[in-house]
Symmetry: C2
Subunit: 334 residues, 2 copies
């Protein structure tokens, strides 16, 4: 009783200082925070910046232009933003990526949100970082279908790009329009596309009211059932490759990159950040709802069947991972 | 002298009231304003609103969502904004419209900027207004290639659209998702996409410094040479159909709508508002620069060859028609 009284006094003092929420978490807890919060990481507003590509305003501005630039595609109407659509959670919300001439690829478009936190890129990890990733879709025949040479020629034709490259990289703007600098600018822009302050992040930071009771149960189930084994770190992915056969998929995944038998059907763990707004799910986009996706993951990866309540709790938790979207005014292009 | 003195007094008074610019135009003039300004019209910020489609915030918001919605296309990745790209002057800046499966149409994509001021729509006027125009590209097989029935079914599948239609039209949201209401919302959004306050508009309103001397000469040449015969009204188009054969075009134009021999090769006069940022030019997009476009128009429509200086003056004038672009934050879609 004496302890309780002392805590009450402390609580009153903290409350007077406007710190009631924090004191609540320190004092009484909610039965979950003290046990689970330290098993997770909040999402920072800025992702790690590599030593060889300092993040500057000028590169980010240029990268934004390039991200929205459709004339670096063969048709002239497909940009990065076509499939990584800012209106659609920076993905396309269709099962499989659809690019040049309406060709449909094998895989679901990954969101670029928080992709700066991944330590491998693409479903099969064939690029190590955003710089390596950036140019692939321009040349891919089922995506933008343009040779890099032609893309560079087209960009050089615009004085506005010459100026923007000069600003970002110094020196002669036209000479600075190189594949490497295009990739660095696109990577820099993408590193700013993060979604901090989700309800889950606010909860981890001590706002115990940021999650519903159901979401807290879901968080506990997520951790206790081992989902965190792969979905961990700030973006809730280990960026590693795990064998999985989701409904309808025959895709060999990472094997196609490494040729190692052991990599057959392995895919990179996708981020769960904003998963509620980046449907449909899995490497083939063949699963439409979180309810189904959770069920599949339970069976395939954990060898268990979640009961209806646990499934609903997990889905509720996943909804708490939707953060603040970047506010994007479309750039004026030349 | 007495008149001059009186004008000076008036000028002093107006200047004291912060109206020096206006008084300057009334008093001294620049040799052009008094003669030419009344031959033109400024561009209002809002276009005329039809009696059967009142402009409401809710319709505009919904129309914006629909404008950016790619899932009302067969591929799921083409929206109105793909070809009427806000980054590219609300057109695509490629010669001819490129839509479903990279098919290339016969005609250049017209900008939607200020299209609420047109009294006919499309190059051939096959729609009378924006409401009639709005649904055509969804169904056109070389554009979005989706039946209206399917588009409506897809929209009905989203609760967010049910809610937005209920807000815009009242009653049961799902039932309000009709082709007519889709068209009205899209038209409402487009009526807000206007570009007032161009240098030319500011000049017409009395700011004599808003145009350069060369631009003023161009304005005079534009009027004196008869360009205004067709390019008149607030959007500098009469929305009527004139026979023209531009380089490379065999398109029969309005004839394909009316079947009248006299309509062969007739096309709607395009707006000249923002013409500097809506290249390339003409019905087939076959002309890349304003210099060439002015030359072609002189020869084809006016039967004269502009000398180099007059051509440059006209081009400089056309650059003064670029107004303030709408600031668009991409909408969040469901």
């Amino acid at each position: 009783m004496r302890l309780t009284n002392n805590l009450r006094k402390i609580s009153t003092l903290l409350s007077a200082a406007g710190l009631l929420v924090l004191s609540g978490s320190l004092m009484a807890g909610d039965g979950y925070h003290s046990k689970y919060a330290n098993r997770f990481e909040t999402l920072p507003a800025i992702s790690p910046i590599p030593a060889n590509n300092s993040l500057t305003k000028e590169k980010v501005e240029l990268g934004k232009m390039l991200f929205f630039e459709p004339r670096i595609s063969a048709s002239g109407v497909i940009s990065c933003a076509t499939c990584h659509n800012p209106s659609l959670g920076w993905t396309d919300r269709i099962p499989r990526a659809t690019g040049h001439a309406a060709q449909v690829g094998e895989r679901n478009t990954p969101t670029v949100l928080n992709s700066g936190f991944f330590t491998s890129q693409f479903w099969d990890g064939r690029a190590a970082d955003l710089e390596e990733q950036a140019l692939g879709p321009i040349e891919a025949d089922i995506e933008m279908n343009l040779s890099l040479d032609e893309a560079i020629v087209r960009l050089k034709g615009f004085k506005a790009y010459q100026d923007a490259f000069a600003k970002a990289y110094g020196g002669n703007g036209e000479k600075q329009i190189t594949p490497n600098n295009v990739a660095h600018a696109l990577a820099s822009f993408q590193r700013t596309l993060n979604t901090p302050n989700s309800p889950f992040d606010r909860y981890l930071s001590g706002d115990l009211s940021a999650l519903t009771e159901q979401q807290k149960r879901g968080m506990a189930a997520f951790s206790d059932n081992g989902c965190s084994a792969c979905h961990n770190g700030p973006a809730l992915t280990d960026s590693l490759f795990h064998a999985i056969k989701v409904p309808g998929s025959t895709d060999l995944g990472r094997f196609l990159v490494t040729g190692d038998e052991g990599d057959k059907h392995r895919f990179k763990t996708p981020t769960l950040r904003n998963v509620a707004v980046t449907y449909p799910y899995f490497n083939n986009g063949g699963t439409a709802t979180l309810e189904e996706a959770v069920q599949v993951m339970g069976k395939e990866m954990l060898g268990r069947e979640f009961n209806k309540k646990t499934n609903a709790d997990l889905v509720a938790f996943l909804h708490s991972l939707t953060g603040e979207m970047p506010h994007i005014e479309v750039p004026a292009l030349p």
